[in-house]
């Protein structure tokens, strides 16, 4: 019950946080309230050109970041993530008994796909999210606010590695609870960690998508 509440709060909080940040970036002459603004933007999601634009943005991004066959790594990760997120969230919030049966098998298979594609992603694309020398060290004099553009890129890297970290915890806790190693209370703890890190994974994925795919207004 508590986990269900936490899940709802975190998911709604993420949606609110991301949309409200966008709302605050609206032009100064836009006097709409947040609710009205959100309504307009939501309707725009279903507008005729949105799908075409989205596909174009995604294709261009993939072309730039995942050339040739490597785009399948991205698609596999996306499929694994969506399977995990949809089955996980649905059963966490709506089914008191929790996940069972065929959805559980699907969740496990999706988990395997997610783990494999995450490993491949880190091998093929990890370097792209390397932390540059321009970024600050903790103890030197360069600890200062980064330029806005550099801060955005830095945030994406942090989000990327956070996503990878949560993904690691997801896979590790799942495997851990399958092995004849841990006791029942430990397994329960692993399961709780699995659920919490799943929320972290979804939040970081949403943050990443927001930062990478949705164009931002120039200041």
């Amino acid at each position: 019950m508590i986990m269900s509440l936490i899940s709802v709060v975190v998911l709604l909080g993420t949606v609110f946080g991301l949309t409200y940040a966008r709302y605050r970036e609206r032009p100064e002459d836009d006097k709409r309230t947040y609710g009205r603004w959100l309504g307009v933007k939501t309707r725009a999601l279903f507008a005729a050109g949105t799908r075409k634009t989205s596909r174009k943005v995604l294709a261009e991004w993939l072309e730039a970041h995942y050339p040739a066959w490597t785009k399948w790594i991205f698609f596999a990760l996306l499929a694994g993530l969506l399977t995990q997120a949809l089955t996980g969230i649905f059963f966490e919030i709506f089914i008191a008994r929790g996940m069972f049966g065929l959805p559980l098998i699907g969740h496990m298979i999706g988990g395997g796909l997610f783990a494999a594609s995450l490993a491949a992603l880190l091998l093929w694309r990890g370097r792209a999210y390397r932390l540059d020398e321009d970024e600050p060290g903790l103890f030197d004099a360069r600890l200062r606010p980064l330029p806005r553009a550099a801060a955005g890129a830095f945030l994406i890297k942090i989000v990327f590695w956070s996503f990878a970290g949560f993904g690691f915890v997801q896979v590790a806790t799942a495997v851990g609870s399958m092995l004849p190693v841990f006791t029942f209370p430990t397994q329960e703890t692993l399961l709780t960690i699995h659920r919490l890190s799943a929320l972290g994974l979804i939040v970081t994925a949403a943050l990443f998508a927001d930062r990478v795919f949705v164009p931002r207004r120039r200041p």
Partner: protein, 729 residues
């Protein structure tokens, strides 16, 4: 526990003087009551079985078993699915006590007030079955459940406790006394052989000079006393190979968990018992409470009670602890391709010994079958498919008493009597050189002490049907080999033939006089003399006996009996479909049916036996707690495939509707169907375990790979943020 050196008292509350000539039996109500409140105890679990809804989750019902009619009918005063109220069968307290008193602890319906005594009962003669305190609390090895059962069957109700405790020797049978006899009438001076009044001859070694008895009592009761009525054992396992419950093996007594106070309202120890019986701290005595300490989660429990080890359950997914009772993995026989047939004390009369074999194959109880309990948890159950004859009408199905069925069906249910009567008659032949047996259709049958048949060997002729003699394990003809045409050698064998025919003529219910055909001659008794007629058309080389009825020769054993005996001998089943058809004909084919093997059998308009499913034919089941196996024999200890697999016995064992009828129409169900699961899903789910080890190995490798990359990234970032990387440069 104080020493109980106390005066024994009779029903009137008077002290028993064991040295007097006809001392009465002791009364627990009067002997124990001065210190222990009988009325409070009488409301206890064991004595209040007739109180509807008093006992919580279903327990083992009583079984009205009659092998002859193929009846195995579950009875209980408590309402539960599949059980019948004894009152619906017309069973009074008296009938119930006679049937099941062998394993009743007394009290309740066995000790009825005058207002509940029904006509036809003989409580005044037999006395009531008072609560038998010593039946549980006697620590003496002289306590004898078989003696108790014997005295109950003799209707010596008020004497049974004295005899079973070994306090004295009880003779006589109340069942043979006239209905007006009273205990104060004393011995029957007119009959010292048959209708002997019950009497007690006390063992004076138990008494001191003040006539106080030294009783060796135990609080709580010894396990042996509990097991007198609550033992269960696999039907086909030798006793030496059967392991006791792991708790018992560790020295934990039954009553260490199944506790009670003076109310004798005992803790049964199942999950959720607190809801059924709030007055007991039962939440402290479940498996989870002692071993995990999480019975009610929000209640105070005392984990580790009696040294209960904490189970680590390594690698068992949490869902198992949410959906399964502990006993699924830890209790009863390990799953095999078919459930294990077991026998229980109360159902199959285990533990009662005497000259005859008291234990019975029926009812056919199987375990474990996994069903959901009242908490929705999958729980191992014992299961039995009912079998009984019934009258059917618009109101439903009404079971018949086996006695009524026997009376209506008659000889149809007694095919072996065609042989046993002949063998019994042959025992009257003087100077028999062996035991008479019967050769029928190539098999040789001996008669057992219970009046049944036992296959003891192979005969010489596939179409035989005559008696033989068994001597030293070999079989020889009843009539010695001789030449009837030779007048010099035949007189002696013919004298033997005369003795045999005279004995056979006394056969009960014989259709006519016996006749022997042998080597072209026919012998029969005419006016007490042996008549010998030459019959050239009957050149029987071996002696052939027939009954002569209206000058027609009838075989000793008719075709129906031949078929039935061949089909039933040596099997636990007691009925064939042909018998059912004939019995239904006799009962009334329009409104009678036989329920067995999970089906309802009845005759259609053409007189053929047909079967269909019916709720009344559904199995009755009750949860089982024991025998708990050691942890190393638990399910799952060898991994997931102990239960999960495409051919898993746990899920897919075949549960056959065992019962008294030989039929191909019997129900066969997969274990998974009792669990309420979708079989194809669990087949698929089980199949997935073939690849799971590789899947886990793959995931582990991926965890290692992802973890390594993250570690490198983390260390790199840490070095950069800490400035260590710059310093190195």
């Amino acid at each position: 526990m104080p020493v109980h050196q106390i005066p024994l008292k009779d029903e009137a509350g008077l002290q028993i003087i064991p040295t007097e000539s006809h001392p009465p039996p002791f009364s627990a109500r009067m002997t124990c009551a001065p210190c222990h409140e009988y009325a409070a105890i009488a409301g206890g679990l064991h004595f209040s079985a007739a109180k509807k809804g008093a006992l919580g989750r279903p327990g083992e019902p009583w079984f009205r078993v009659d092998e002859r009619t193929g009846t195995q009918l579950p009875l209980s005063y408590l309402s539960a699915p599949g059980v019948w109220n004894p009152e619906l069968l017309g069973l009074t307290n008296w009938d119930f006590t006679l049937l099941f008193g062998r394993h009743l602890p007394g009290g309740g319906g066995a000790e009825p007030p005058a207002s509940e005594m029904t006509p036809g009962s003989r409580w005044e003669v037999s006395g009531k079955v008072e609560i038998n305190c010593l039946g549980c609390h006697n620590a003496s090895r002289a306590q004898n459940q078989s003696e108790w059962a014997k005295q109950i069957m003799r209707e010596n109700f008020r004497w049974a406790a004295t005899a079973a405790a070994g306090l004295g020797e009880v003779g006589g049978m109340a069942s043979r006394l006239i209905p007006t006899w009273d205990i104060y009438d004393g011995p029957n001076p007119d009959d010292s052989e048959w209708a002997i009044a019950p009497s007690v001859k006390y063992n004076k070694a138990f008494f001191d000079s003040k006539h106080r008895a030294l009783l060796d009592l135990a609080y709580p009761p010894d396990d042996a006393r509990c097991l007198d009525c609550h033992a269960t054992g696999p039907a086909k396992t030798m006793m030496f190979d059967f392991d006791a419950d792991v708790h018992s093996a560790a020295g934990i007594a039954c009553a260490a968990c199944h506790r009670n106070d003076l109310s004798h309202n005992m803790i049964r120890g199942y999950e959720g018992e607190k809801k059924d019986n709030p007055s007991l701290p039962s939440e402290n005595f479940t498996c989870r409470a002692c071993h995990l300490g999480e019975a009610g989660k929000r209640t105070e429990v005392l984990p580790g009670r009696l040294g209960a080890p904490y189970p680590r359950h390594k690698g068992i997914p949490a869902v198992h602890f949410e959906r399964l009772a502990c006993t699924v993995c830890h209790s009863g026989p390990l799953p095999e391709p078919e459930p294990t047939r077991v026998r229980t004390s109360r159902a199959n009369r285990l533990g009662i010994f005497g000259v005859a074999d008291w234990s019975t194959d029926l009812p056919a109880i199987q375990e474990p079958v996994y069903l959901r309990d009242q908490n929705g948890l999958l729980t191992p159950h014992r299961l039995m498919w009912p079998a009984f004859w019934a009258r059917t009408d618009a109101d439903g199905i009404h079971p018949l008493k086996p006695e009524d069925v026997q009376a209506a069906a008659g000889a149809v249910l007694f095919p072996e009597k065609a042989i046993t009567r002949i063998v019994a008659a042959l025992l009257n032949v003087p100077d028999l050189a062996g035991i008479p047996v019967f050769e029928l259709d190539g098999r040789i049958y001996d008669v057992t002490v219970d009046g049944g048949l036992k296959d003891v060997g192979k005969g010489k002729s596939a179409s035989s049907g005559w008696p033989l003699l068994m001597k030293d394990g070999a079989f020889e003809p009843l009539v010695p080999d001789f030449d009837p045409a030779n007048a010099e050698t035949s007189p002696e064998p013919e004298a033997r033939i005369q003795q045999i025919l005279e004995a056979l003529a006394q056969t009960e219910a014989a259709p006519g006089p016996p006749v022997l055909s042998y080597k072209g001659f026919q012998y029969r008794i005419v006016d007490a003399n042996l008549e010998k007629i030459e019959k050239k058309d009957e050149p029987a080389s071996s002696p052939r006996f027939v009954w002569l009825k209206a000058e027609a020769a009838l075989p000793f054993v008719a075709d129906f009996e031949r078929r039935t005996i061949a089909a039933l001998t040596g099997k636990e089943q007691t009925l064939t479909e042909e018998q059912v058809k004939l019995a239904l004909d006799a009962l009334g084919p329009k409104d009678h049916a036989f329920i067995a093997s999970g089906r309802l059998f009845r005759l259609n308009d053409k007189g053929s036996l047909v079967s269909r499913s019916d709720d009344a034919a559904s199995p009755v089941a009750w949860p089982m707690g024991h025998e708990v196996r050691p942890a190393r024999q638990s399910l799952g200890v060898n991994g997931c495939t102990d239960c999960h697999g495409a051919g898993s016995d746990f899920f897919f064992a075949k549960v056959r509707a065992a019962g008294p009828l030989i039929t191909d129409a019997g129900v066969v169900r997969s274990r998974v169907s009792f669990m309420g699961f979708f079989k194809p899903y669990h087949k698929l789910f089980g199949l997935s375990f073939t690849g799971r080890p590789y899947f886990k190995f793959g995931l582990l490798a991926l965890v290692a790979l992802i973890g390594s990359i993250l570690l490198v990234v983390f260390l790199g970032a840490l070095g950069r943020f800490a400035g260590l990387t710059d310093k190195r440069r």
